[in-house]
Symmetry: C2
Subunit: 348 residues, 2 copies
């Protein structure tokens, strides 16, 4: 079978790999219908993270189950399934607490499970899911192909944007600022609007992303950054935002969030932190700013968001602005790296 491997900085290829197969009784073999490239996939590609040898890539995919192990109960061959970006057993204390990303046995696609075995990457023709009952979520029936992009966002970006909004306790009437206009930031706009926010300010300097943010429910756009951006938010909202959703992960974006929020407000952050400790404790303490978030347990949100997609309430698949056959995966990485596209969808 063919699968994507990052060999070195800037060198990503679709390689011929050994066929994957059901090996454990809790495994399921999935034929991938669609996968995609994540902003975080670019870290190694760009040389921001070291590449310590060939690495299987891809942690967002949907597909059809082809075979299951003897103990799998909730998915069957023929089921269309969504794979959250983290593998989870669904039974440990952290899964029961809804923090599937901290699963005692799980791990990430393309990495190693805490239980010990390697996990396939999702930018491939086939993937074996460990802990299939705890990880995969099946739709009832095979969905129309037009729904595939939105269902694919439930693997990561829509669940992650939603997590930012949940972590910042966004609710009806809130004034919300979203920092970051990547796929996650755009989904965070959608999530905040869906949760009842009265005003949603999207911070974006790109006309196409501004337009999508508006389509997703942004009521205002702020195109400036830094102190100027904070001043623009405060002009719009008076004392600052009730909630800010930080969807980038740099020191600059975190500062943008921490200084745009009002005293007593909440920051939800889901941008993978690119730096070290960046929280200015005295500012947080003096202003009673609460911070929540982290690596999103999207598995916990899947049922709710799947229903929202299937009912047509949300259409997060709009974040995909380019589609590539899997054998052009290198172009997909390059185009995202050059910011030619917001998010690239891959079809085997």
């Amino acid at each position: 079978m063919r699968g994507t491997v990052l060999h070195a900085t800037g060198d990503v290829r679709l390689d011929e790999l050994p066929d994957t197969a059901v090996r454990r009784p809790t495994d399921a073999l999935v034929r991938v219908v669609a996968s995609c490239v994540c902003g975080s996939d670019l870290w190694g590609y760009r040389g921001i993270s070291p590449v310590e040898g060939p690495k299987r890539m891809g942690h967002e995919f949907v597909g059809v189950v082809e075979e299951v192990g003897a103990e799998v109960r909730t998915v069957r061959p023929g089921d269309f399934v969504i794979a959250p970006f983290a593998v989870s057993d669904g039974t440990c204390v952290h899964c029961r607490n809804g923090i599937h990303t901290s699963c005692a046995s799980g791990g990430y696609w393309g990495g190693t499970a805490r239980a010990g075995h390697d996990i396939d990457g999702g930018q491939a023709e086939y993937v074996v899911s460990p802990f299939a009952d705890g990880t995969l979520v099946a739709t009832s029936g095979v969905p129309d192909d037009s729904l595939v992009p939105s269902l694919l966002t439930l693997s990561d970006v829509m669940g992650t944007g939603h997590h930012a909004a949940i972590a910042a306790k966004v609710g009806p009437g809130d004034n919300v600022v979203v920092v970051g206009d990547g796929a996650v930031g755009l989904c965070a706009v959608l999530a905040a609007a869906r949760l009842g926010a009265e005003r949603v300010i999207a911070m974006s300097r790109h006309a196409d992303r501004q337009a999508l943010a508006t389509a997703f429910g942004a009521t205002d756009i702020v195109a400036t950054r830094g102190e100027e951006g904070v001043a623009a938010v405060k002009d719009l909202l008076g004392g600052g935002a009730d909630a800010v959703l930080e969807c980038v992960g740099t020191k600059e974006s975190m500062d943008q969030a921490l200084y745009s929020v009002r005293p007593g407000g909440r920051v939800g952050y889901v941008g993978v932190p690119a730096g070290g400790p960046e929280f200015p404790v005295r500012h947080l303490f003096a202003n009673n700013i609460a911070i929540g978030g982290g690596v999103a347990p999207v598995r916990a949100y899947l049922d709710e968001l799947l229903a929202a997609v299937l009912s047509g309430e949300i259409d997060p698949g709009k974040v995909f602005d380019a589609e590539y056959p899997l054998d052009r995966v290198a172009d997909a990485y390059a185009d995202m790296d050059n910011r030619k596209v917001v998010k690239a969808l891959l079809r085997p």
Copy 2:
């Protein structure tokens, strides 16, 4: 009149000061019935914070109103009042949001109001409260003298301990750890128990404080610290605590909190941060640990906690283990500095 002045590190005295008086129409003159020494008063006394000239001391007091300005509506001469440790106008956007400590016009006793004028200190015979309507809370009738210690804790330590529990969203069934066995930590134990926590683990190495924590509702005591303390908590609670209340403010105590909490858990912190940024962002991100808290808006909690004291539901006044006449204020500071006493009450 006589009032407490910190002149230099280790040099605190009861000085003869000019009489204070109602000067603005929103002022109220209060005859102090009881005040006390706060752990944070010791920072200047100990030389941890620089002393940049004589400073009026004391931000926790209760008393009887003697005179009010023309615009004061909610307190009258003869009223027994509780003064929160921060002055607030009660009308600005931050006060309306319940974050009275961020009041646009307010400030701290012994400091300068954001509105511009100096504010008296509370370890004195008389104090003028600015923004009396927004700041002071009157009891109905003059309470029995036996209630004075508990009412005095509503100025700061009980409201601050409660804030830690609120910031950490303590609720029924939670497993809670309290880091810090000073007056605030002990009040945090009381607050967590009152809010329905199932288990409350007090971290304390002192038998007298352990006994008081138990009287306040602690179900378990952990006497170890650091990695040993974290291991002890995890032995008791499995994956870690649902909520941790950090009531000290050092790097060590914050680490104790951040590593005792479970993935997806909440840390409420009210210890005045003694260091710089100390939040290990990657640990928080990886484990979805939420952090909230800060300088407690005790004014927001006063009605609720006053009712709890008056009904006998809570008796936080037990944190006072020594009482001094005001002219022995220097002894009160010294005894707290030497940890001879947990919290010193002062009577003019």
